[in-house]
């Protein structure tokens, strides 16, 4: 056995590890291998042609671009929520805390039709925005709104423990040296939060890129305009274009992982630099 098990007097490693590895291989790894291999049935030029079709590029741009915009919105929004939840006491705080997990618990299809009903021209929020000339439902803006909804808890839950662990001494020392609250926030608190903000941004982005259920109802799904990449996979599968569907899936996965690794490295360098 190549596995060097150290520091444990407990039994049961081998069976537990065996079960885990077997299950993981059958349920997660084998299927993902298929995803990475099947596109190449088209040949290299075929894969390239398949993923550079204008409609595919537009969908990828919307999925990644929309998720990035939503995550960018969620960074300050999530920071505000995390800060208020950790630092302040107010009535209804526990309720608000449960509410933050709502997008994680609510099935995506339910969130999707609820957001559509809210932001449709006749909906509670949509009817308020219509006189302002803002159309949300059935536009790319609707896609972003849905991605904000599903991404928020990732930023808040990433930041909360970091805000909680901010050393009070640093803020006190800065105050003793005569810094104002604004200066302390800018020069002491925010720099300490940057790695957490990056991690939260990455988690929200990853969720938004792959999001399907909460987006497709409010998106309107017009090709080239409000069609997301996961929907294009569904459409290609319906046309029995397995390799083409797998090609889009593979590109989505590879780009997501590349972005997450980049953010991870950045985060690492930031937290080591201090």
């Amino acid at each position: 056995m190549i596995l060097a098990v150290r520091r444990s007097a407990l039994p049961g490693f081998k069976p537990a590890f065996g079960v885990t590895l077997l299950w993981l291989s059958l349920i997660v790894l084998l299927p993902l291998v298929a995803l990475v291999i099947r596109p190449w049935e088209l040949g290299i030029s075929g894969v390239w042609a398949s993923v550079t079709e204008p409609r595919v590029l537009a969908a990828l741009r919307l999925s990644f671009g929309g998720a990035a915009v939503a995550a960018l919105f969620n960074v300050p929004f999530g920071l505000l929520v995390a800060w208020v939840m950790v630092r302040y006491q107010f009535p209804g705080r526990n309720l608000a805390d449960s509410l933050i997990d709502m997008p994680l618990a609510l099935p995506t299809a339910v969130a999707g039709i609820a957001l559509t009903a809210l932001f449709a021209p006749k909906g509670w929020i949509g009817s308020l925005l219509l006189p302002l000339g803002v159309k949300v439902a059935y536009t790319p803006l609707g896609v972003i709104i849905a991605m904000i909804f599903v991404g928020l808890p990732f930023v808040v839950r990433t930041l909360e423990p970091i805000v909680m662990d901010l050393p009070a001494e640093a803020e006190e020392a800065a105050a003793t040296l005569g810094a104002t609250r604004g200066q302390i926030m800018r020069r002491v608190v925010l720099p300490a939060l940057v790695p957490g903000l990056l991690a939260g941004f990455g988690a929200a982005l990853a969720r938004g890129v792959g999001e399907y259920g909460s987006v497709i109802f409010i998106a309107g799904n017009m090709p080239m305009i409000s069609e997301i990449a996961p929907l294009l996979i569904v459409i290609r599968l319906e046309q029995l274009d397995y390799a083409g569907a797998a090609a889009v899936g593979m590109v989505m996965l590879l780009v997501s992982f590349a972005i997450l690794m980049l953010l991870n490295m950045l985060e690492h360098r930031m937290s080591r630099g201090r």
Partner: protein, 278 residues
Amino acid sequence: MNRSATQESRSVQAVLIVLTIGLLVAFLLLPLVVVFTQALKDGLAGVLDALSQPDALAAIRLTLLVAAISVPLNAACGLAAAWCVSRFQFRGRNLLITLIELPFSVSPVISGLVWVLLFGASGWFGPFLSQHGIRIIFAVPGLVLATVFVTFPYVARTLIPLMEQQGSAEEEAALTLGAGLWQMLWHVTLPNIGWGLLYGVLLCNARAMGEFGAVAVVSGHIRGQTMTMPLQVEALFNDYDWIGAFSIAGLLALLALVTLVFKAILEWRLERRSGGLL
């Protein structure tokens, strides 16, 4: 020391709190409220009527069936995975954790797509399956596989931090006193992790019953046969049957609420217990 430099002023605090509550209500609470108001537009009778339609009942039954198969499988494997990761140091441990969490970072649609690539009509094993008259895609086994893929990480993810924090001292004591592996698991490990395990199973179940993207790809949308509750919601919504769609959505939203309430209770229990110890 200047107090106002380590804390926001009262008025700033009030503004931030109001802003936070306003944003949370608009973005997170309103969608939930909308589900119930839309469902109840024609009163409770409309909801009951919508939920007693044969297709709705079939969707509820299928959702329960798929969850009843997937959740126990993932609970058992999640427990095994948590035991390895939290109790042993071995090479590749971090890789194993990454792989366990991998389904979280895969789009739900891709989680369904991979099974079509394997078992669909022109999938790798498709010809073999059709020769032997076995249906996986557009049938219950496909729905189960897609659900198992997306819910795989939940139990292990919930248990690993809890078990790492508890440490293995009590288990080692049980072994020293002559307990066997199963005795130790049954009398020491399970009672210790009981609430965490229950919460992990509940999260796993909530996702299993609410999963949409992955099952949408493998279901084939055969009404009354391969439609789970979220898929039925989509079908009814696209048919402009809003009361029907929001009634089933309301059931799913209730499940989400139960999960959140349970989480709150669990956190309160854990806080109280650790508070008692300190």
